[in-house]
Amino acid sequence: MTTPRYKRFLLAVLAWSIAFVIFFPILWMALTGFKTEAAAIADPSLFFSPTFESYVAVHARADYLKFALNSVVVAFGSTLFALLIAIPSAYSMAFLPTPRTKGTLLWMLSTKMLPPVGVLMPIYLLFRDAGLLDTRTGLVIVYTLMNLPIVVWMLYTFFKDLPRDILEAGRMDGASTFQEVRHLLLPLTLPGIASTGLLAVILSWNEAFWSLNLTSSDAAPLTAYIASFSSPEGLFWAKLSAASTMAIAPILVFGWLTQKQMVRGLTFGAVK
Protein backbone atom coordinates (compact mmCIF):
# COMPACT_ATOMS: atom_id res chain seq x y z
CA MET A 1 0.00 0.00 0.00
CA THR A 2 1.45 3.36 -0.94
CA THR A 3 0.36 6.35 1.02
CA PRO A 4 1.01 9.69 -0.66
CA ARG A 5 3.95 11.52 0.85
CA TYR A 6 2.02 14.55 2.01
CA LYS A 7 -0.44 12.31 3.82
CA ARG A 8 2.37 10.52 5.56
CA PHE A 9 3.87 13.88 6.52
CA LEU A 10 0.56 15.09 7.97
CA LEU A 11 0.24 11.85 9.87
CA ALA A 12 3.67 12.29 11.43
CA VAL A 13 2.86 15.88 12.39
CA LEU A 14 -0.43 14.84 13.99
CA ALA A 15 1.06 11.91 15.91
CA TRP A 16 4.01 13.93 17.11
CA SER A 17 1.81 16.82 18.22
CA ILE A 18 -0.36 14.49 20.26
CA ALA A 19 2.65 12.74 21.78
CA PHE A 20 4.08 16.15 22.66
CA VAL A 21 0.88 17.34 24.33
CA ILE A 22 0.63 14.15 26.38
CA PHE A 23 4.27 14.35 27.42
CA PHE A 24 4.22 18.11 28.00
CA PRO A 25 3.47 18.12 31.77
CA ILE A 26 6.46 15.85 32.37
CA LEU A 27 8.70 17.97 30.14
CA TRP A 28 7.49 21.13 31.81
CA MET A 29 8.18 19.69 35.24
CA ALA A 30 11.69 18.68 34.22
CA LEU A 31 12.36 22.20 32.88
CA THR A 32 10.90 23.92 35.93
CA GLY A 33 13.31 21.98 38.10
CA PHE A 34 16.14 23.92 36.49
CA LYS A 35 14.57 27.32 37.12
CA THR A 36 14.80 29.64 40.10
CA GLU A 37 11.67 29.83 42.26
CA ALA A 38 10.95 33.28 40.82
CA ALA A 39 11.26 32.05 37.23
CA ALA A 40 9.14 29.00 38.01
CA ILE A 41 6.04 31.04 38.74
CA ALA A 42 6.71 33.69 36.09
CA ASP A 43 5.05 33.53 32.67
CA PRO A 44 5.86 30.28 30.93
CA SER A 45 8.95 30.65 28.85
CA LEU A 46 11.38 28.27 27.29
CA PHE A 47 14.13 30.85 27.61
CA PHE A 48 15.66 30.98 31.04
CA SER A 49 19.11 30.53 32.45
CA PRO A 50 19.21 27.02 33.84
CA THR A 51 20.34 26.61 37.41
CA PHE A 52 20.87 23.65 39.65
CA GLU A 53 19.90 25.57 42.75
CA SER A 54 16.64 23.66 43.26
CA TYR A 55 18.40 20.33 42.97
CA VAL A 56 21.04 21.51 45.42
CA ALA A 57 18.35 22.80 47.78
CA VAL A 58 16.39 19.53 47.65
CA HIS A 59 19.54 17.56 48.34
CA ALA A 60 20.63 19.93 51.08
CA ARG A 61 17.55 18.90 53.01
CA ALA A 62 19.13 15.61 53.99
CA ASP A 63 15.73 14.02 54.25
CA TYR A 64 15.36 13.73 50.48
CA LEU A 65 17.94 10.97 50.53
CA LYS A 66 16.12 9.30 53.39
CA PHE A 67 12.86 9.18 51.42
CA ALA A 68 14.64 8.02 48.28
CA LEU A 69 16.37 5.28 50.26
CA ASN A 70 13.01 4.21 51.70
CA SER A 71 11.61 3.95 48.18
CA VAL A 72 14.57 1.90 46.99
CA VAL A 73 14.53 -0.46 49.97
CA VAL A 74 10.76 -0.94 49.90
CA ALA A 75 10.42 -1.35 46.11
CA PHE A 76 13.38 -3.67 45.63
CA GLY A 77 12.87 -5.53 48.90
CA SER A 78 9.25 -6.34 48.18
CA THR A 79 10.12 -7.34 44.60
CA LEU A 80 12.83 -9.70 45.80
CA PHE A 81 10.49 -11.39 48.27
CA ALA A 82 7.67 -11.60 45.72
CA LEU A 83 10.01 -13.26 43.21
CA LEU A 84 11.34 -15.72 45.79
CA ILE A 85 7.84 -16.77 46.80
CA ALA A 86 6.44 -16.74 43.27
CA ILE A 87 9.14 -18.66 41.38
CA PRO A 88 8.45 -22.08 42.98
CA SER A 89 4.73 -21.53 42.65
CA ALA A 90 4.90 -20.49 38.99
CA TYR A 91 7.30 -23.36 38.29
CA SER A 92 4.91 -25.95 39.64
CA MET A 93 1.94 -24.41 37.84
CA ALA A 94 3.76 -24.38 34.51
CA PHE A 95 5.51 -27.74 34.69
CA LEU A 96 3.52 -29.84 37.16
CA PRO A 97 -0.03 -28.74 36.45
CA THR A 98 -2.82 -30.45 38.37
CA PRO A 99 -6.53 -30.07 37.66
CA ARG A 100 -6.52 -27.35 40.29
CA THR A 101 -3.90 -25.14 38.71
CA LYS A 102 -6.29 -23.09 36.65
CA GLY A 103 -8.52 -22.48 39.63
CA THR A 104 -5.58 -21.44 41.78
CA LEU A 105 -4.38 -18.98 39.14
CA LEU A 106 -7.79 -17.40 38.80
CA TRP A 107 -8.20 -17.23 42.54
CA MET A 108 -4.85 -15.44 42.83
CA LEU A 109 -6.01 -12.97 40.22
CA SER A 110 -9.20 -12.36 42.18
CA THR A 111 -7.25 -11.40 45.33
CA LYS A 112 -5.88 -8.50 43.30
CA MET A 113 -9.43 -7.23 42.85
CA LEU A 114 -9.93 -6.54 46.53
CA PRO A 115 -9.97 -2.74 46.77
CA PRO A 116 -7.31 -1.64 49.28
CA VAL A 117 -9.69 0.86 50.83
CA GLY A 118 -11.98 -2.06 51.72
CA VAL A 119 -9.38 -3.48 54.06
CA LEU A 120 -7.77 -0.21 55.20
CA MET A 121 -9.13 -0.44 58.71
CA PRO A 122 -8.07 -4.00 59.57
CA ILE A 123 -4.60 -3.57 58.06
CA TYR A 124 -4.15 -0.28 59.90
CA LEU A 125 -5.17 -1.80 63.22
CA LEU A 126 -3.13 -4.99 62.73
CA PHE A 127 -0.09 -2.91 61.82
CA ARG A 128 -0.62 -0.62 64.79
CA ASP A 129 -0.80 -3.56 67.19
CA ALA A 130 2.20 -5.26 65.61
CA GLY A 131 4.24 -2.04 65.67
CA LEU A 132 4.51 -2.03 61.88
CA LEU A 133 3.04 1.42 61.26
CA ASP A 134 5.61 3.72 59.67
CA THR A 135 8.17 0.97 59.22
CA ARG A 136 9.82 -0.19 56.03
CA THR A 137 9.12 -3.80 57.05
CA GLY A 138 5.42 -3.04 57.07
CA LEU A 139 5.46 -1.56 53.58
CA VAL A 140 7.60 -4.41 52.26
CA ILE A 141 5.02 -6.90 53.57
CA VAL A 142 2.12 -5.03 51.98
CA TYR A 143 3.84 -4.55 48.61
CA THR A 144 5.07 -8.15 48.47
CA LEU A 145 1.53 -9.43 48.91
CA MET A 146 0.05 -6.74 46.68
CA ASN A 147 2.30 -7.74 43.77
CA LEU A 148 2.44 -11.49 44.38
CA PRO A 149 -0.52 -12.40 42.12
CA ILE A 150 0.83 -10.36 39.20
CA VAL A 151 4.32 -11.78 39.67
CA VAL A 152 3.06 -15.37 39.76
CA TRP A 153 0.96 -14.78 36.67
CA MET A 154 3.70 -13.16 34.68
CA LEU A 155 6.27 -15.80 35.61
CA TYR A 156 3.74 -18.51 34.79
CA THR A 157 3.24 -17.17 31.26
CA PHE A 158 7.01 -16.91 30.73
CA PHE A 159 7.70 -20.39 32.11
CA LYS A 160 4.95 -21.91 30.02
CA ASP A 161 6.57 -20.58 26.86
CA LEU A 162 9.71 -22.59 27.61
CA PRO A 163 9.86 -25.87 25.65
CA ARG A 164 9.30 -28.68 28.14
CA ASP A 165 11.86 -30.94 26.43
CA ILE A 166 14.69 -28.83 27.76
CA LEU A 167 13.74 -29.42 31.37
CA GLU A 168 12.99 -33.06 30.70
CA ALA A 169 16.44 -33.54 29.18
CA GLY A 170 17.92 -32.14 32.37
CA ARG A 171 15.84 -34.50 34.46
CA MET A 172 17.01 -37.45 32.36
CA ASP A 173 20.56 -36.47 33.17
CA GLY A 174 19.68 -36.82 36.83
CA ALA A 175 19.17 -33.19 37.79
CA SER A 176 17.16 -32.64 40.97
CA THR A 177 14.29 -30.20 41.00
CA PHE A 178 16.50 -27.60 42.58
CA GLN A 179 19.27 -28.11 40.03
CA GLU A 180 16.73 -28.07 37.24
CA VAL A 181 15.40 -24.72 38.39
CA ARG A 182 18.78 -23.25 39.25
CA HIS A 183 20.73 -24.29 36.14
CA LEU A 184 18.08 -24.57 33.44
CA LEU A 185 14.89 -22.71 34.17
CA LEU A 186 16.27 -19.53 35.73
CA PRO A 187 19.01 -18.82 33.15
CA LEU A 188 16.68 -19.59 30.25
CA THR A 189 13.87 -17.37 31.45
CA LEU A 190 16.03 -14.61 32.89
CA PRO A 191 14.70 -11.89 30.54
CA GLY A 192 11.15 -12.77 31.58
CA ILE A 193 12.06 -12.79 35.26
CA ALA A 194 13.83 -9.46 34.87
CA SER A 195 10.85 -7.76 33.27
CA THR A 196 8.54 -9.26 35.89
CA GLY A 197 10.81 -7.85 38.59
CA LEU A 198 10.91 -4.45 36.91
CA LEU A 199 7.12 -4.32 36.74
CA ALA A 200 6.91 -5.16 40.44
CA VAL A 201 9.46 -2.43 41.22
CA ILE A 202 7.48 0.10 39.17
CA LEU A 203 4.19 -0.80 40.85
CA SER A 204 5.68 -0.61 44.36
CA TRP A 205 7.61 2.57 43.64
CA ASN A 206 4.47 4.36 42.45
CA GLU A 207 2.04 2.92 45.00
CA ALA A 208 0.39 5.77 46.87
CA PHE A 209 -2.52 4.41 48.88
CA TRP A 210 -0.72 2.32 51.46
CA SER A 211 2.34 4.56 51.57
CA LEU A 212 0.19 7.60 52.40
CA ASN A 213 -1.88 5.77 54.99
CA LEU A 214 0.63 3.52 56.70
CA THR A 215 3.70 5.78 56.93
CA SER A 216 4.26 9.22 58.38
CA SER A 217 7.93 10.15 58.64
CA ASP A 218 10.40 7.34 59.30
CA ALA A 219 9.45 4.97 56.52
CA ALA A 220 7.76 7.38 54.11
CA PRO A 221 8.83 6.71 50.51
CA LEU A 222 9.00 9.32 47.74
CA THR A 223 5.27 9.15 46.95
CA ALA A 224 4.54 10.39 50.47
CA TYR A 225 7.41 12.90 50.41
CA ILE A 226 6.10 14.51 47.21
CA ALA A 227 2.62 14.63 48.77
CA SER A 228 4.06 16.87 51.51
CA PHE A 229 4.52 19.56 48.85
CA SER A 230 0.75 19.92 48.64
CA SER A 231 0.61 21.91 51.86
CA PRO A 232 0.69 25.70 51.43
CA GLU A 233 4.10 26.01 53.04
CA GLY A 234 5.45 23.70 50.39
CA LEU A 235 4.47 25.71 47.37
CA PHE A 236 7.93 25.87 45.94
CA TRP A 237 7.43 24.86 42.35
CA ALA A 238 11.07 24.63 41.34
CA LYS A 239 11.92 22.45 44.32
CA LEU A 240 8.78 20.35 43.82
CA SER A 241 9.80 19.90 40.19
CA ALA A 242 13.38 19.00 40.98
CA ALA A 243 12.33 16.48 43.62
CA SER A 244 9.62 15.03 41.37
CA THR A 245 11.96 14.70 38.41
CA MET A 246 14.44 12.77 40.50
CA ALA A 247 11.62 10.62 41.90
CA ILE A 248 10.20 9.57 38.55
CA ALA A 249 13.30 9.46 36.31
CA PRO A 250 14.53 5.94 37.14
CA ILE A 251 11.03 4.45 36.96
CA LEU A 252 10.31 6.18 33.65
CA VAL A 253 13.39 4.49 32.20
CA PHE A 254 12.35 1.10 33.63
CA GLY A 255 8.92 1.59 32.10
CA TRP A 256 10.32 2.42 28.67
CA LEU A 257 12.53 -0.67 28.79
CA THR A 258 9.80 -3.13 29.70
CA GLN A 259 6.71 -1.69 28.04
CA LYS A 260 6.17 -4.74 25.80
CA GLN A 261 6.41 -7.44 28.45
CA MET A 262 4.50 -5.27 30.87
CA VAL A 263 1.31 -5.67 28.86
CA ARG A 264 1.32 -9.36 29.75
CA GLY A 265 1.55 -8.68 33.46
CA LEU A 266 -0.94 -5.84 33.52
CA THR A 267 -3.60 -7.80 31.65
CA PHE A 268 -2.88 -11.20 33.22
CA GLY A 269 -1.95 -12.64 29.88
CA ALA A 270 -5.28 -11.72 28.32
CA VAL A 271 -3.55 -9.43 25.81
CA LYS A 272 -0.23 -10.47 24.32
Binding site: F23, M108, S230, I248
Partner: protein
Protein backbone atom coordinates in the same frame (compact mmCIF):
# COMPACT_ATOMS: atom_id res chain seq x y z
CA UNK B 1 -9.09 -29.99 52.12
CA UNK B 2 -10.16 -33.44 50.96
CA UNK B 3 -9.46 -32.51 47.41
CA UNK B 4 -5.86 -31.57 48.11
CA UNK B 5 -5.31 -34.96 49.66
CA UNK B 6 -6.58 -36.65 46.54
CA UNK B 7 -4.06 -34.82 44.39
CA UNK B 8 -1.41 -35.30 47.02
CA UNK B 9 -1.40 -38.99 46.26
CA UNK B 10 0.30 -38.45 42.94
CA UNK B 11 3.94 -37.48 43.14
CA UNK B 12 3.47 -34.45 40.90
CA UNK B 13 0.55 -33.29 42.98
CA UNK B 14 2.50 -33.49 46.21
CA UNK B 15 5.45 -31.63 44.78
CA UNK B 16 3.31 -28.96 43.23
CA UNK B 17 1.42 -28.59 46.48
CA UNK B 18 4.54 -27.92 48.51
CA UNK B 19 5.94 -25.57 45.88
CA UNK B 20 2.76 -23.54 45.76
CA UNK B 21 2.18 -23.57 49.49
CA UNK B 22 4.04 -20.35 50.39
CA UNK B 23 2.35 -18.20 47.76
CA UNK B 24 -1.10 -19.68 48.32
CA UNK B 25 -0.92 -19.54 52.13
CA UNK B 26 0.28 -15.94 52.19
CA UNK B 27 -2.35 -14.77 49.73
CA UNK B 28 -5.04 -16.66 51.58
CA UNK B 29 -4.08 -14.94 54.84
CA UNK B 30 -3.75 -11.57 53.10
CA UNK B 31 -7.25 -11.94 51.74
CA UNK B 32 -9.21 -13.73 54.44
CA UNK B 33 -7.94 -12.07 57.61
CA UNK B 34 -8.57 -8.44 56.63
CA UNK B 35 -11.76 -9.37 54.80
CA UNK B 36 -13.11 -11.19 57.83
CA UNK B 37 -12.11 -8.33 60.09
CA UNK B 38 -13.75 -5.73 57.86
CA UNK B 39 -16.96 -7.74 57.86
CA UNK B 40 -16.80 -8.22 61.63
CA UNK B 41 -16.08 -4.53 62.35
CA UNK B 42 -18.88 -3.46 60.06
CA UNK B 43 -21.35 -5.01 62.50
CA UNK B 44 -19.68 -3.54 65.59
CA UNK B 45 -19.91 -0.29 67.51
CA UNK B 46 -16.26 0.57 67.38
CA UNK B 47 -14.68 4.02 67.45
CA UNK B 48 -11.06 4.50 68.41
CA UNK B 49 -11.83 7.90 69.88
CA UNK B 50 -14.58 6.51 72.11
CA UNK B 51 -13.03 3.54 73.92
CA UNK B 52 -16.10 2.96 76.08
CA UNK B 53 -18.37 2.34 73.11
CA UNK B 54 -18.47 -1.26 71.99
CA UNK B 55 -20.72 -4.18 71.24
CA UNK B 56 -22.76 -5.62 68.45
CA UNK B 57 -24.34 -2.96 66.29
CA UNK B 58 -26.31 -5.09 63.90
CA UNK B 59 -26.99 -3.13 60.76
CA UNK B 60 -26.58 0.26 62.48
CA UNK B 61 -23.37 1.15 60.66
CA UNK B 62 -24.91 0.32 57.30
CA UNK B 63 -28.04 2.21 58.19
CA UNK B 64 -26.02 5.23 59.26
CA UNK B 65 -23.99 5.11 56.08
CA UNK B 66 -26.85 4.45 53.68
CA UNK B 67 -28.93 7.31 55.07
CA UNK B 68 -25.98 9.70 54.99
CA UNK B 69 -26.23 12.03 51.98
CA UNK B 70 -22.42 12.05 51.89
CA UNK B 71 -22.42 8.41 50.80
CA UNK B 72 -24.70 9.08 47.87
CA UNK B 73 -22.76 12.11 46.77
CA UNK B 74 -19.59 10.03 47.06
CA UNK B 75 -21.19 7.26 44.98
CA UNK B 76 -22.21 9.84 42.39
CA UNK B 77 -18.70 11.28 42.27
CA UNK B 78 -17.21 7.80 41.98
CA UNK B 79 -19.52 7.00 39.06
CA UNK B 80 -18.78 10.29 37.30
CA UNK B 81 -15.05 9.84 37.80
CA UNK B 82 -15.01 6.23 36.61
CA UNK B 83 -17.42 6.90 33.73
CA UNK B 84 -15.71 9.94 32.28
CA UNK B 85 -12.20 8.59 32.65
CA UNK B 86 -13.29 5.37 30.95
CA UNK B 87 -14.88 7.23 28.05
CA UNK B 88 -11.84 9.47 27.56
CA UNK B 89 -9.23 6.74 27.89
CA UNK B 90 -10.97 4.02 25.89
CA UNK B 91 -12.09 6.22 22.98
CA UNK B 92 -8.84 8.20 23.02
CA UNK B 93 -6.72 5.09 23.52
CA UNK B 94 -8.34 3.30 20.58
CA UNK B 95 -7.91 6.24 18.23
CA UNK B 96 -4.34 6.81 19.35
CA UNK B 97 -3.52 3.12 18.98
CA UNK B 98 -4.65 3.29 15.35
CA UNK B 99 -2.66 6.48 14.82
CA UNK B 100 0.54 5.21 16.45
CA UNK B 101 0.26 1.97 14.50
CA UNK B 102 0.81 3.87 11.23
CA UNK B 103 4.33 4.21 10.00
CA UNK B 104 5.88 7.62 10.45
CA UNK B 105 9.24 9.13 11.23
CA UNK B 106 10.31 8.58 14.83
CA UNK B 107 7.34 6.38 15.68
CA UNK B 108 9.16 4.54 18.43
CA UNK B 109 10.11 7.72 20.27
CA UNK B 110 6.65 9.25 19.88
CA UNK B 111 5.10 6.09 21.33
CA UNK B 112 7.42 6.14 24.32
CA UNK B 113 6.57 9.80 25.01
CA UNK B 114 2.84 9.11 24.78
CA UNK B 115 2.85 6.21 27.25
CA UNK B 116 5.14 7.92 29.77
CA UNK B 117 2.50 9.45 32.07
CA UNK B 118 1.50 5.94 33.14
CA UNK B 119 4.86 5.52 34.88
CA UNK B 120 4.65 8.76 36.85
CA UNK B 121 3.70 8.31 40.51
CA UNK B 122 0.18 9.60 41.27
CA UNK B 123 1.29 12.21 43.79
CA UNK B 124 3.67 13.76 41.25
CA UNK B 125 1.07 13.79 38.46
CA UNK B 126 -1.51 15.38 40.69
CA UNK B 127 0.78 18.11 42.02
CA UNK B 128 2.31 18.93 38.64
CA UNK B 129 -1.17 19.38 37.19
CA UNK B 130 -2.48 21.27 40.19
CA UNK B 131 0.42 23.72 40.39
CA UNK B 132 2.14 24.05 37.09
CA UNK B 133 -0.72 23.30 34.68
CA UNK B 134 -3.96 24.37 36.34
CA UNK B 135 -2.89 27.16 38.67
CA UNK B 136 -5.29 30.06 38.00
CA UNK B 137 -2.56 32.72 37.94
CA UNK B 138 0.73 31.07 37.01
CA UNK B 139 -0.30 27.81 35.37
CA UNK B 140 0.38 26.94 31.75
CA UNK B 141 -3.35 26.62 31.00
CA UNK B 142 -4.04 30.09 32.40
CA UNK B 143 -1.19 31.43 30.28
CA UNK B 144 -2.63 29.75 27.18
CA UNK B 145 -6.10 31.12 27.91
CA UNK B 146 -4.57 34.57 28.26
CA UNK B 147 -2.82 34.18 24.95
CA UNK B 148 -6.17 33.66 23.24
CA UNK B 149 -7.79 36.44 25.23
CA UNK B 150 -9.91 34.08 27.29
CA UNK B 151 -10.43 34.34 31.03
CA UNK B 152 -8.30 31.97 33.08
CA UNK B 153 -10.20 29.13 34.75
CA UNK B 154 -9.77 28.56 38.46
CA UNK B 155 -9.84 24.82 37.90
CA UNK B 156 -9.96 23.45 41.41
CA UNK B 157 -12.56 25.87 42.78
CA UNK B 158 -14.94 26.12 39.86
CA UNK B 159 -14.49 22.69 38.23
CA UNK B 160 -13.05 20.49 40.98
CA UNK B 161 -14.30 17.10 39.80
CA UNK B 162 -13.50 17.90 36.17
CA UNK B 163 -9.96 18.74 37.22
CA UNK B 164 -9.57 15.39 38.96
CA UNK B 165 -11.03 13.64 35.92
CA UNK B 166 -8.50 15.37 33.65
CA UNK B 167 -5.58 14.35 35.86
CA UNK B 168 -6.69 10.74 36.20
CA UNK B 169 -7.50 10.47 32.49
CA UNK B 170 -4.02 11.78 31.70
CA UNK B 171 -2.55 8.98 33.77
CA UNK B 172 -4.71 6.19 32.34
CA UNK B 173 -4.92 7.17 28.66
CA UNK B 174 -1.35 5.87 28.22
CA UNK B 175 -2.36 2.60 29.87
CA UNK B 176 -5.19 2.10 27.37
CA UNK B 177 -2.87 3.11 24.54
CA UNK B 178 -0.16 0.68 25.65
CA UNK B 179 -2.54 -2.29 25.85
CA UNK B 180 -4.46 -1.50 22.67
CA UNK B 181 -1.30 -0.80 20.71
CA UNK B 182 -0.05 -4.26 21.64
CA UNK B 183 -3.38 -5.80 20.66
CA UNK B 184 -3.58 -3.97 17.34
CA UNK B 185 -0.20 -5.33 16.30
CA UNK B 186 -1.67 -8.80 15.97
CA UNK B 187 -4.18 -7.53 13.41
CA UNK B 188 -3.82 -9.43 10.17
CA UNK B 189 -2.46 -7.08 7.50
CA UNK B 190 -3.77 -9.30 4.70
CA UNK B 191 -7.28 -8.94 5.98
CA UNK B 192 -7.01 -5.16 5.95
CA UNK B 193 -5.45 -5.29 2.50
CA UNK B 194 -8.23 -7.50 1.19
CA UNK B 195 -10.89 -5.19 2.57
CA UNK B 196 -9.14 -2.24 0.96
CA UNK B 197 -9.12 -4.07 -2.37
CA UNK B 198 -12.84 -4.57 -2.05
CA UNK B 199 -13.18 -0.83 -1.79
CA UNK B 200 -13.53 -0.34 1.95
CA UNK B 201 -12.41 3.11 3.09
CA UNK B 202 -10.32 3.70 6.21
CA UNK B 203 -13.43 4.38 8.29
CA UNK B 204 -15.07 1.13 7.21
CA UNK B 205 -11.85 -0.75 7.95
CA UNK B 206 -11.76 0.81 11.41
CA UNK B 207 -15.34 -0.10 12.28
CA UNK B 208 -15.57 -3.52 10.63
CA UNK B 209 -12.07 -4.92 11.09
CA UNK B 210 -9.99 -3.02 13.64
CA UNK B 211 -12.68 -2.47 16.24
CA UNK B 212 -13.94 -6.08 16.29
CA UNK B 213 -10.31 -7.24 16.52
CA UNK B 214 -9.76 -4.99 19.55
CA UNK B 215 -12.98 -6.02 21.25
CA UNK B 216 -11.42 -8.27 23.83
CA UNK B 217 -8.48 -5.98 24.57
CA UNK B 218 -10.90 -3.09 25.04
CA UNK B 219 -12.98 -5.06 27.52
CA UNK B 220 -9.84 -5.98 29.44
CA UNK B 221 -8.82 -2.31 29.57
CA UNK B 222 -12.30 -1.29 30.75
CA UNK B 223 -12.39 -3.84 33.54
CA UNK B 224 -8.86 -3.31 34.83
CA UNK B 225 -9.33 0.46 34.78
CA UNK B 226 -12.65 0.14 36.58
CA UNK B 227 -11.09 -1.81 39.42
CA UNK B 228 -8.39 0.81 39.91
CA UNK B 229 -10.57 3.84 39.24
CA UNK B 230 -13.23 2.79 41.75
CA UNK B 231 -10.76 3.54 44.52
CA UNK B 232 -8.76 6.52 43.24
CA UNK B 233 -7.23 8.09 46.32
CA UNK B 234 -3.83 9.81 46.08
CA UNK B 235 -4.87 12.27 43.36
CA UNK B 236 -7.70 13.55 45.56
CA UNK B 237 -5.62 13.44 48.73
CA UNK B 238 -2.95 15.82 47.43
CA UNK B 239 -5.13 18.19 45.40
CA UNK B 240 -8.56 18.88 46.86
CA UNK B 241 -8.77 16.70 49.99
CA UNK B 242 -12.25 15.81 48.83
CA UNK B 243 -13.45 19.40 48.66
CA UNK B 244 -14.70 21.97 48.20
CA UNK B 245 -17.38 20.56 50.49
CA UNK B 246 -17.85 17.05 49.21
CA UNK B 247 -17.43 17.94 45.54
CA UNK B 248 -14.52 15.56 44.94
CA UNK B 249 -15.06 13.02 47.70
CA UNK B 250 -15.36 9.58 46.14
CA UNK B 251 -16.10 6.34 47.94
CA UNK B 252 -12.44 5.66 48.74
CA UNK B 253 -11.91 9.13 50.14
CA UNK B 254 -15.09 8.97 52.20
CA UNK B 255 -13.95 5.73 53.80
CA UNK B 256 -10.55 7.28 54.46
CA UNK B 257 -12.21 10.24 56.23
CA UNK B 258 -14.22 7.88 58.40
CA UNK B 259 -11.31 5.59 59.07
CA UNK B 260 -8.24 7.72 59.66
CA UNK B 261 -9.72 11.14 60.41
CA UNK B 262 -12.80 10.22 62.45
CA UNK B 263 -11.43 6.84 63.57
CA UNK B 264 -14.91 5.38 63.23
CA UNK B 265 -13.90 1.78 62.58
CA UNK B 266 -17.46 0.47 62.34
CA UNK B 267 -18.72 2.90 59.72
CA UNK B 268 -15.48 2.83 57.76
CA UNK B 269 -15.69 -0.96 57.61
CA UNK B 270 -19.29 -0.85 56.42
CA UNK B 271 -18.08 1.51 53.68
CA UNK B 272 -15.27 -0.92 52.94
CA UNK B 273 -17.75 -3.75 52.50
CA UNK B 274 -19.72 -1.65 50.01
CA UNK B 275 -16.52 -0.88 48.07
CA UNK B 276 -15.60 -4.57 48.01
CA UNK B 277 -19.03 -5.53 46.68
CA UNK B 278 -18.82 -2.91 43.91
CA UNK B 279 -15.33 -4.04 42.90
CA UNK B 280 -16.41 -7.66 42.88
CA UNK B 281 -19.24 -7.06 40.47
CA UNK B 282 -16.63 -5.90 37.97
CA UNK B 283 -14.13 -8.54 39.00
CA UNK B 284 -16.44 -11.44 38.21
CA UNK B 285 -16.58 -10.43 34.57
CA UNK B 286 -12.84 -9.89 34.35
CA UNK B 287 -12.04 -13.26 35.90
CA UNK B 288 -14.43 -14.96 33.48
CA UNK B 289 -12.78 -13.30 30.52
CA UNK B 290 -9.31 -14.29 31.68
CA UNK B 291 -10.51 -17.84 32.38
CA UNK B 292 -11.76 -18.16 28.81
CA UNK B 293 -8.40 -17.02 27.57
CA UNK B 294 -6.58 -19.52 29.78
CA UNK B 295 -8.36 -22.41 28.08
CA UNK B 296 -7.39 -21.48 24.55
Amino acid sequence: MNKTRVYGRTVGGLRSLSLQAPAVTLLLLWMLVPLGMTLWFSFQRYNLLMPGMSGFAGLENYEYLLTDPALWSAMGNTLLLVGWVLIITVVGGTLLAVLFQQEFLGRGVARVLAISPFFVMPTVSALVWKNMMMHPANGVLAWLANLFGLPAVDWFSSLPLTSIIIIVAWQWLPFALLILLTAIQSLDDDQVEAARMDGAGPIAVFFFITLPHLKRAISVVIMIEMIFLLTIFAEIFVTTSGGPGLATTNLAYLIYIQALLDFDVGTASAGGVIAIILANIVAIFLVRLVAKNLES
